[in-house]
Symmetry: C2
Subunit: 320 residues, 2 copies
Amino acid sequence: MNASRHFDPKDFRQALGRFATGVTIVTARAPDGTPVGMTANSFNSVSMDPPMVLWSLAKNARSVGAFTQAQQWNVHILSNEQEPLSNRFARAGEDKFGGLALDAGIGEAPLIPGCSARFQCRTAFQYEGGDHIIFVGEVIEYDRSERAPLVFVKGGYALATKLSGNVSTEPGADVGTAPYSENLLGYLLGRAHHQFMAGFRQILDQLALSDPDFYVLSLLAVRAPLAGPEIAAHMAYTGIDVGSVLLRSLCVRGLLQADDEGRHELSATGRDAILHVMAAAKAREADVVDQLGELESASLRNGLKALITASDPGLPKLWA
Amino acid sequence: MNASRHFDPKDFRQALGRFATGVTIVTARAPDGTPVGMTANSFNSVSMDPPMVLWSLAKNARSVGAFTQAQQWNVHILSNEQEPLSNRFARAGEDKFGGLALDAGIGEAPLIPGCSARFQCRTAFQYEGGDHIIFVGEVIEYDRSERAPLVFVKGGYALATKLSGNVSTEPGADVGTAPYSENLLGYLLGRAHHQFMAGFRQILDQLALSDPDFYVLSLLAVRAPLAGPEIAAHMAYTGIDVGSVLLRSLCVRGLLQADDEGRHELSATGRDAILHVMAAAKAREADVVDQLGELESASLRNGLKALITASDPGLPKLWA
């Protein structure tokens, strides 16, 4: 072999980081009984028959002695709720296992609960791999859960979601002449928003609440009392003109009450109304999340937050 | 070693599938010059110094002879636009390289363009791995692009997006007593939709178009002529009552025209108005996508489509 190339480590890592991975914690027990474990994304499946997986460990890692001597180790594929655990096991020197209630495994290696999948392995091979050792293990036991897996890509944690099909286009439709298509975010946002609200519009209608009524009551359910201009500032981005007419009408209908300084808050009737609407909205949400799945829902929330942050006109914080 | 376990292959694969991966195509050239290549997600980085990566290949793969004899092979980390290429190279027996314009590499192995990253490797080791051979290669050259990588998890392709922070909650805020929080999809959808529209509300105001006006003109820009009840059916989910009053008002203002059978379409003025709004909406979209990034935008569109499909009240298809 020729002399090895010396790439810029940061740039080379960025190139490698284009390959998305899950995140695992690999654990073993040192000869003296001390539990060892570390975060690794160098895991992969190798063989179906016999069932084998591999991962690699830096030769200068503190736990290298424990792993090379261990006959058995466990790989934990982390769920998207275990990001803190990933961070904890990625740092050196902490009491990584403190406070963790371990499960009983087939061997001595620590078995961590709450993962997307776990593989209890017996060392099959240890191979030379440059500045790392490649551990190949035979899987003796495994289990899995429905918890959505954590993803690492381009140097950061991520959520992965399945690709969806088209919703408002017939197969083979030619949208070439239409002035917009469903790929316009504005169309998708509007349709998703309206369809979501359609799920509890019945109760808005029963309570004779228009969309502007609903938005004002929702705002005051979180933050009150607020003066008219403060309410208008919170609502400005909706394009709804929250003027004195709207607020006075809500007062006349007994949904709001105003103090001497013109600050508004919900009346008992108003609070009762918005709690009814919120119960219906939460039922709608539960129904939609049930159909979408937890992961898709989490990813959608995440994407909406990113868009809101990117397009924030400088709104006052709602929850302080 | 004891006799190996025999797991149910389907269930074992599902457990392994909890570990997200990127998708690669690995290529080499057979001794007779024939290009070979296959889709693989068993790639991983191994060593920084020397720079090394690995992947594994089934011993019964058709290309195993070519790869075991090749001194050099290339790993291509696919972008999220290369899903068709992934499918092509995952199938046996096709003319996989047909129509591909290859780049020139350091060796004979085919080098495919359009990827998120590419690694040109020299075989360093070939290791025993059960029913697979583990190929460890030293990276001689690599390159990378900003193309968003393709992800494979739980048996299907996926998009991965970075985790976003909170948008409307001050750090450490206690939202325990509020009747809802920004984690309610309904809140996020409404806020995102309104903030997006705020970016072109000025032109709606200039043209004196209300939201119901805008929705009706948008619909008729894609599908016309439509009778009043057909327009109402398309709009029902928005909660906007599209009655004859609204349509007549749009006709009186010269934005719509109706034929003798009561079917409505845009007038020249109406078409001009909606094209102006659409141009502003597309500029808004370009601005938001620029801030979010292509991948986050694609993922958000994807999530919105999933929600729209899950909550579809049975709307007529808009683009036919």
